[in-house]
Amino acid sequence: MRRPGFSPSFSGAVTVLALGFLALFLLYPLFGIFEASVLDPSGAHFTANNYLRVLARPFYQRALGNSLAIGAAATVVTTMVGVPLAFCLARLAIPGKPLLLALATLPLVLPSFVSAYALVLLFGRAGIVTQALRAIGVPFDSLYGAPGLVAVYTLTLFPYVVLPTLAAFKAVDVSVEEAGQNLGASRWRVWRTVILPIVMPAVLAGALLVFMDTLENFGVPFVLAEDMPVLAVEAWKQFVGETGGNPATAGVLGVLLIICTTLALLVQRHYLARRRFATGARTAPPLLAIGPRWRVAAIAFSWGVVALALVPFCAVVVISFMRFRGPVITTELGLGNFIQLFARAPGPLANTLILAGAAAFGGVLLGVPIGYVLTRTRTRLAALLDIVAMMPFAVAGTVLGIGLVIAFNAGFLVLTGGWLILVIAYVVRKLPFNVRASSAILHQIDPSLEEASINLGVSPSLTFVKLTVPLMLGGIVGGAVLTFVTVASELSATVILYSGKWSTMTIVMFQALEGTGAGVASAAATVLIVVTILPLALINRLLRRQGASLL
């Protein structure tokens, strides 16, 4: 069935192009890698044995169980923190909002291995905070283990929830809120029964991203899980462990990750399928007037969450100004780290900004039309596209990187060695941000607007560009910001794909931290923070100024 406002030629073209792109740059590269999981050791016959073997191992069962439990817990907690925060930012007068919003996305700029390092310095067994707490009699053990992981995920990943949900709150027409109150429901009740359900597509989109990231992420559990088995870490070791893992097991673990995330996606699709969320908003709802006590609480909450999230951050910044003797941190201040850093870093810094910018741009170009098609059509092909477009998030960057190298190092299309393959890898990997964020906001836009435009003689594709995109702006920018920020901190695919000229700040940090250059790594992180916060704050300002006329 064709959906209104939508010509099959446009939807078809987008679907086919997107599937083609993903087939080329995602499925084809991954095929070779996951093929091993369904082949017997001779490589000639198909078998399910690898799956049975892996799943029969209690160790992997525990790894799977741990991953799912931690992922679920982190998703729930992150959502419970992120949604109220988004609401505060969207509807309350919080001082310093643009700055706060920019700061809120910063935790993502810090590569997870750096924040893990900082967190261990603070909250490890010998951590500064740990010891301070113990000194005043608080029985705090350390950050290692599941609770620590959940806490760290929550405090780094909440922007996944906040950005789309924030845009969603602004796209709710105030009249449904008024209708609720008019019928005698208190503000809280209206929020719970009307507003929250209406922004649900965005909340679910964010939650899905969080869940998938926690499943796929290995940088944090690499350090903080210590020796608790976690699926992503085990998969990583099997793929690129120094002692050469088992390709079949690696494939099985990788496919397991994809299956988990696909299931999560299907649950979300099922929930959204029967419902509609458009309220026909003509302008963003006004800021709420609330009592001084609530206002203080909201301000404390908003700034508190962000401040807490910035703790590893501040630690890194402080560390970067400490003097290091080799790998050993001293208590003296100094600029030595920066001097060392700038001896080599201008190139990587520029590369990071260029690559992240290009990836954000490419991601929008590819992801927004996909998000549109997924929301506005209900064809089988679109459902397939939905799943495929979400897969990159379930695939470790390393795996995708290796797949891309094997696929495009020689043969019909040679890409290795340049910047393009990096950008392609980033665009593919971060595609879910753009797809989710734009599809979430689109749920709230009345399709009859698009119909009106088409009816006035503007083709569906032009309607999309001229009307729908501006209406979706909040969501699109959210996705682009997430892409930009997370690409700036991307390591796992970069490490496989970069060439000397295109080294990035994250590579610099990783190499430094791997060995004995923690000081340089911190300095690099500090520089990265500073150069990312500026464009973020700027974008937020710009958007806010447009807020009066835009959804």
Partner: protein, 314 residues
């Protein structure tokens, strides 16, 4: 055009950046050849190199273990370096496909703030003491060649029979198995873990920079884990690659590296008494017999066994 291209060299380096920085700067200064480093863990780099074998992107791979050098020898171009003769034959490929640079001794690191000087373990056997339960940091052999060497060394040392593996299992039950080697030495250095099983150079770097770390050579003998360099066959800058290999094995280069980063060289003609750190000469350290080749050959099966032990003891 070919000459202009030859003015640079792409080096896949698994070394940490401080070492890279030091060497590359000196190399470029001396030779005028620009280095384009590609840095990463050795597993990642080898994967990358072999993925690119149809059209290699790198010239040199540097800082990967003997077993990785051996198992990927087919990807290397032979080169008989000028300095190769100073290096004992056991540390280089007979066909000149690769040359060993650094020798890492497997040692115990002890944080003397957490475990006072005299009270630490002296031997591998001491680590079995239940009092160390949860206090020893180790790297997952799945992700570290030297950890694999270490486990198999102990198996061999303890008799290479079921009882020996029983002891290995007991040891694993005492240890924290971390995901990468840097977590071990920085963990011990920063006081996260009282004890760690790591490489010799790390102990010296941390100690020489003031960390409370003591490097313990196990009294029941240890083994040399070698890492080295190879020229990637078909790389874009073969001439520069040769220049680099010559440079990296020169005596003065090795001295410079040692002074800053405590990498024990494969060539045996350095006088440690004239260098910082007071590192004992290789000849003064008790080495255990270790059948490296056979352990490398048996690797898949042995890894599976180790993996089982790791899984069982988590």
């Amino acid at each position: 055009e070919a000459r202009a291209a030859d003015k640079s060299v792409v080096i896949y380096s698994a070394n940490e950046s401080v070492l890279d920085e030091l060497v590359f700067t000196a190399f470029t200064k001396e030779s005028g050849i620009a280095v384009q480093p590609v840095e990463g863990g050795s597993g990642v780099l080898v994967k990358r190199m072999s993925s690119e074998k149809e059209r290699p992107q790198g010239d040199i791979i540097w800082g990967i273990s003997r077993s990785l050098l051996q198992s990927n020898a087919a990807l290397f171009a032979p080169y008989h370096s000028k300095n190769v003769d100073a290096i004992p034959v056991e540390y280089r490929d007979p066909g000149d496909l690769w040359i060993g640079n650094n020798l890492h001794l497997l040692v115990l690191l002890q944080n003397t703030k957490l475990v006072p000087e005299g009270q630490g373990p002296k031997s591998w056997d001491d680590l079995l003491d239940p009092k160390w339960k949860g206090k020893i940091a180790f790297t997952d052999p799945a992700n570290s060649g030297s950890a694999y060497t270490n486990v198999t060394l102990l198996a061999q040392l303890w008799g290479n029979d079921d009882a020996a593996w029983e002891k290995v299992t007991k040891l694993f039950a005492n240890m924290k198995v971390l995901n990468k080697s840097s977590l071990v030495f920085s963990g011990v250095g920063n006081g996260e873990y009282p004890l760690g099983i790591s490489l010799e150079y790390a102990g010296y770097i941390w100690a020489s920079n003031g960390a409370p770390i003591k490097t313990v050579y196990p009294s029941d003998g240890t083994v040399v884990a070698m890492e080295g360099v190879g020229i990637i066959k078909g790389g874009p800058n073969p001439e520069s690659a040769k220049v680099f290999v010559d440079f990296i094995n020169r005596k003065d280069t090795r001295e410079m590296i040692f002074a800053k980063t405590f990498r024990r060289p494969a060539r045996q003609d350095l006088d440690f008494t004239k260098l910082p750190g007071n590192m004992p000469a290789l000849s003064t350290i008790k080495l255990a017999t270790y059948d490296e080749e056979s352990w490398t050959a048996k690797r898949p099966a042995t890894m599976a066994k180790i993996q089982e032990i790791v899984e069982k003891t988590r």
